[in-house]
Amino acid sequence: MLLFILRRILIAIPTLILVSMFVFTLQKLLPGDPILVMAGEDRDPEVIALLRERYRMNEPIVMQYFYWAADVLRGDLGVSLRTNEPVLSLIASKLPVTIQLALMSMLFAILIGIPAGILSAVRKGTWVDWLANLIALSGLSVPNFWLGIMLILLVSVNLGWLPASGYESPFVDPWKSLTTMIMPAFVLGTALAATLMRHTRSAMLGVLQADYVRTARAKGLRGRVVILKHAFRNAVLPVVTLTALLFGELLAGAVLTEQIFTIPGFGKLIVDAVFNRDYAVVQGVVLCTAVGFILMNLIADVLYVILNPRLRTAQ
């Protein structure tokens, strides 16, 4: 198992290098001059010249990449062009926020999606199935930003139950942290819950037709045991991979949700950085995201092995 993990990590290194080169080039292809943005409304030519030199914008792009990569290897991701804050500390302060949001959304999604999927598979063709499908379809179709604003208007403005936006760290004020996160996590979780529900349902439907389920039923096992122990355990495999991959989707979805609820997380960091042409920040964030994706995939593969005994013996 350890060898397997180690091999996967080694394979990840060239991927990371490619990703970083790709993003670096793409960014430079973006129209718009970061130095003009940084120089401010007055665009003092003297300031522009100094900034160009400071950030090595005069050099060829290949050299710029190597300077950056060399700094990264030394653990230095550079400083934000906009505020002078080190990119590493920015990421360190934003990442936990988005992870909290993603975990809470995932929790929402799993709590709603998986039971709904099982239920609608077991009760296929009944009103339960129909209702679950309807909810799933709406969950997938309703855009995040619309649902977010509607929730703010209803829950915060009209009912006054939850804060409309903002963020508090759970280590400072756990209660406030929870209340500011409920709505965004729900909004972000709905679409995922729908996807999870649809996949759980189809996996369950497949498994419920299988011979061993019939055998289990024939042995006289109770319905609940058959469904949860025999059918679900096997149906859950593709769902686990999906959940891990969806985690990446969560990060993408967080971009929009964080904008609406003004949550100072990763998504908001990258959007603001792109608009300000804050190259160092964009670059750092993308690198971290790529590492995150690779880690999630690794975790999914490991979970697979744990859940599926056949793969274990193959090792």
């Binding site: 003009l36 300031v47 505020t83 002078n84 302060s93 604003i149 939850l162 804060p163 409309a164 209660w175």
Partner: protein, 501 residues
Amino acid sequence: MTLRKLTTALLASVAMTSGAFAADLRIGLQEDPDALDTDQARTFVGRIVFESLCDKLVNITPELDFVPELATSWGWSDDGLTLTMQLREDVVFHDGTAFDAAAVVANIERSKTLDESRRKSELASVESVEATGTYEVAFKLASPDATLIAQLSDRAGMMLSPTAAAEKGLELSNDPVCSGPYKFVERIQQDRIVLEKFADHYDADSYSFERLIFLPIPDTTVRLANLRSGDLDMLERLAPSDVAAVEADDSLSFTSATSLGYQGITVNVNNGARSETPFGQDARVRRALSLAIDREVINQVVFEGVYAAGNQPFPPTSPWYDATNPVEARDVDAARALLEEAGLDGISIEIQAPNNPVQLQLMQVIQAMTAEAGIEISIKATEFATMLSEQTAGNYEGSQVGWSGRTDPDGNIHSFMTCEGGLNDSKYCSEEVENLLNEARLSTDAAERKASYDAANAILREELPIIYLYHQTWLWAMTDRVQGFTAYPDGMIRLSGVTME
């Protein structure tokens, strides 16, 4: 406990804990400020925070007169080359060090020499600064500069603690040390900036809040929702489309001031190959476009009537506005006649505009209006950073942009209309205009200056390198518990005398 009871209890306690201390003022900002160092800072929104964090040498009144702040009085030498300022003697910085003439010298030198300083052009006329007494300072100028007082009433005149500046260097932006009524506590990027009251401020009694919490919330709907739900006490830059909702809400109030800036269409008249169009080369075509637009209707349709129609670099509320030449009425026939005179049957023009719903709506209204005069506008929605570089590179025919405005009229016109001006993206160049604008800089006599600006604007009205459209209005919304707020045309939030019931 049943689930329903539990939920009710939870929600009730949320409702109870969401109110903040009355001693806090929570202010919603449209953007997250940039570096909190008065020399490195470049954004409008950052200035709002500096207003509470840092004292300036000079302040302004809502009528744009200059009044003392850290400088108690000032005077010019007869040749206009020396500005002497007397300073307050009871001022300390947030780190406990004293403010004096030496501190002013250190600050101006930092603004002029720091590599990253964005203040260099603002202080370009200052050759040297000298402490002529413990509390007296003299600015020596290379040539007379009427705009200097105005510069010292903004970031260039904001005083940082020289001790802290020397110690922290560029890092100062993450922990600024000034002498203002509030001192820096913490900043979480894109989330909040917290300041707390500075007890040793010379005018501490005028400031009633213990803490200021600035919360950047870019979405206007969400910003207003926060105000209505009680999560904010006030916000800046309310969207014109939300004015009706705020007026209808008994617990909210709003106040406004016409800004110092303008919005218009910058025309490429001389900036590379793309200026070689009838629109760029023939002023009659530009006048035709201007005449085809009904600026009042634009104000009503796009901005709910809360902005001000404009045809000059200065808003109608400014003392520098030329009242003898108000906004012209729309005249489609005259516009057609001008096109004919230019030998054109009709014309297509591409105009780039910022990619946001309001500016695009503005351009669509203009597009419909000019179409009636035979001018087909194609709108190129462009993200702002890109627009800026296209503009400087000359890769545009027309560009819908604006300027946030400066207290001194020079700031709204000189860099845009002089041949080598740093912001002259149309590359318009006229010796006559150039001379008039340079003369206006030298004189300290307001009437003389006004005559120069009027004369320059009379030429520009014919030439139209910028077709002025309207002047934005700053809109602040607040809960009706916030009392005593005064609106200033510079869009800042000054909290002296503001209280919360």
